[in-house]
């Protein structure tokens, strides 16, 4: 794995955004060749989305030939509810860029047949040629997407019941009324993300430090599902200093020492202005 450590949240967000930008531009997407991107929600990726929007507005990147697949969505929450992940993606990303609406895939938590919805989603990913780059985050309990502790490390897209911790943590978005928080969600499986050619996990903040430690310094364990990525050939963890607080000094020093190598991935940062599509 690559462990890229930046000083603070803003720098980590920017590094990740530059990396994603370079991945897309260097892929040279076109009408016959779409770049498939897996996307997360939550507070961690907000800075990264803002940066990507900035790059789009300055004309350096277009999402016209990008297909996106979101990780998850609540079950039973109206699609236009302000806390649904559809609303999140619209407000924080889609409405600011030029992606074709038909290429923005988000699981439908109101489908009559949830199982069929999940299977159809897996099929869409396969038909799109698989995911080039899956961007994700990590929960305080080490979960990726809604793959709560105990989820199979080879799981596929399915319905999950949320852990009590997650429901309580989410209550703040629902007026602190536990009865209003969704209890189930549709989520891509650990296996689904593992199928991606490349995985980028964004981890910022001290409250995520223990999960990061469990994910990369302990063994592969279904109680900390992000640890599955130790077995993925191309994973990058992008984090800020605070997220490294539970790691060994030796680990941190090693990877900080590699920053000059890591930075070659984002420097130079490419622009679509230079390429005639």
């Amino acid at each position: 794995m690559r462990l890229v450590i930046l000083e603070d949240y803003d720098l980590a967000s920017e590094w990740a955004a530059k990396y994603i930008r370079n991945c897309i531009i260097q892929f040279r997407p076109g009408p016959q060749k779409y770049f498939t991107l897996g996307l997360p929600t939550g507070s961690t990726p907000l800075g990264c989305y803002k940066k990507l929007i900035e790059y789009h507005k300055s004309g350096d990147i277009s999402f016209k030939y990008v297909k996106t697949f979101n990780m998850d969505e609540y079950v039973g929450l109206p699609r236009d509810h302000p806390e649904s992940y559809h609303s999140y993606m619209w407000n924080n990303f889609f409405k600011h860029i030029d992606i074709d609406p038909a290429n923005a895939h988000i699981l439908n938590g109101n489908a009559v047949n949830l199982q069929a919805e999940c299977e159809a989603f897996e099929k869409s990913i396969a038909e799109a040629g698989g995911i080039e780059l899956f961007v994700g985050g990590i929960g305080p309990d080490g979960h990726i997407a809604f793959n709560e502790p105990g989820s199979s490390l080879v799981s596929r897209t399915r319905v999950k019941t949320l852990a009590k911790d997650t429901i309580v943590a989410n209550a703040r978005f629902f007026g602190n009324d536990l009865s209003k928080v969704p209890t189930m969600a549709l989520t891509v499986g650990v296996g689904t993300v593992m199928d991606a050619k490349e995985v980028l996990i964004l981890i910022t903040g001290a409250h995520k430090a223990f999960a990061l430690y469990k994910a990369i310094e302990e063994g592969v364990n279904h109680m900390w599902t992000v640890s599955a990525f130790q077995q993925h050939p191309r994973t990058i963890f992008v984090c800020d200093e605070d997220a490294t607080l539970e790691l060994r000094v030796k680990t941190v020093k090693y990877f900080k020492g590699l920053m000059h190598v890591h930075n070659r991935l984002v420097d130079p940062v490419h622009s679509m202005k230079n390429y005639k599509n």
């Binding site: 109206p78 699609r79 236009d80 559809h86 609303s87 619209w90 407000n91 889609f94 409405k95 074709d100 609406p101 038909a102 923005a104 988000i106 439908n108 109101n110 489908a111 009559v112 047949n113 069929a116 919805e117 299977e119 159809a120 099929k123 869409s124 038909e127």
Partner: protein
Amino acid sequence: MCFCRVSRTAVCLCTAAPGDPCKCNSEQVCRGFQGTMPSNRSVSEAPITQFVNCRILKDHRLQREDLWVREGKILNPEKLFFDEEGFADTQVDCQDRIIAPGFIDVQINGGYGIDFSQATDDVKGGVALVAKKILAHGVTSFCPTLVTSPAHIYHKVLPEISVHDGGIEGAGVVGVHLEGPFISLEKKGAHPEQYLRSFQNGGTRDLLDTYGHLDNVGIVTLAPELPNSREVIRELVQRGITVSLGHSVANLSQAEEAVQEGATFITHLFNAMLPFHHRDPGIVGLLTSDRVPPRRTVYYGMIADGIHTNPAALRIAHRAHPAGLVLVTDAITAMGLPPGRHTLGQQVIEIDGLNAYVAGTKTLSGSIATMDMCVRHFRQASGCTVESALEAASLHPAQLLGLSHQKGTLDYGTDADFVLLDDALNVRSTYIAGEQVWEK
């Protein structure tokens, strides 16, 4: 059955089972019938316009958001994106301007030489001329106002004015405002004394005798201290007509009773009513009265032309009851015309700068300020936010008339009547039903 992204219909024409390839297009996968099909989803071929690089007045705040319009209404872009997988056909760069709902003037007596209270041969043409001219002031809907007149004038003029939508020809008429003749003698202002009337035949009878019929009437201003006024107010409210108190010497009790019967507006606050007195605030006291029925708002018109109301008085009213403030022009024939003598109803008035007097007196007879001037003056005099100033000219009049589900806001599904303004609140362009109808 599936939701087909190719045919873009709710129920696919093919008979594929969920999960199988959709037979419309074998590249698509049948996503399964989506039970919660949004019933108001409309797949329309009509062109969609996206106004970008602007700040829009939404949820009482200026927000940096795009404005989407289709078929004359404000469109919800999120629904468009997810339900229809649609996008804009045209983008309009607003050059960082402010987009506000179109202004609504509920008290305007004429302008550009036209006097709505005169029974000319071409009443329709007169209304249309003013309607066209006021687009430049950001007004997209208005209430042509008739001052106290003899019955034959109403009988001749009213049938010629109808409620209709605005467009490239001019602002829309949302109802006629009948200011008088059932008003107080002492507070007649510029209204002709000889045509004042009372409810001597019981009330409703007097209304119909005087006005003829009430078909296109939006507002009636009357003095509630007149005997039998309560029955009249009830009758008008029942017919969906807004009742306004004005040109009156009513005390606070009388005013409160009128509000309880259904009156919801005060015509040009402070003018043509008893002044505020600390032991009997009169009509002005309605702004802070505790006898207003719950969930009812009493609105009040203010002529913010810098002349009809001292800025300090404007501030007192605004601070006491900001949600009820409705900017009106009370513009007269001479608005838009050069200085000199002009007619208003059955009287002659004289223009002197921004002042308009009853000829030979110092009685104000209406203003010649335009709506956008009023918005700017109100903002500057009261120190209120840009949002408050704009809402006083759009949202509040719409709420007063019970039209806020259609006009006065930029909410999804409402009429796309709006104005583009610069930061100094000068009107740069006006749109009705999504079409540009005026540009500076």
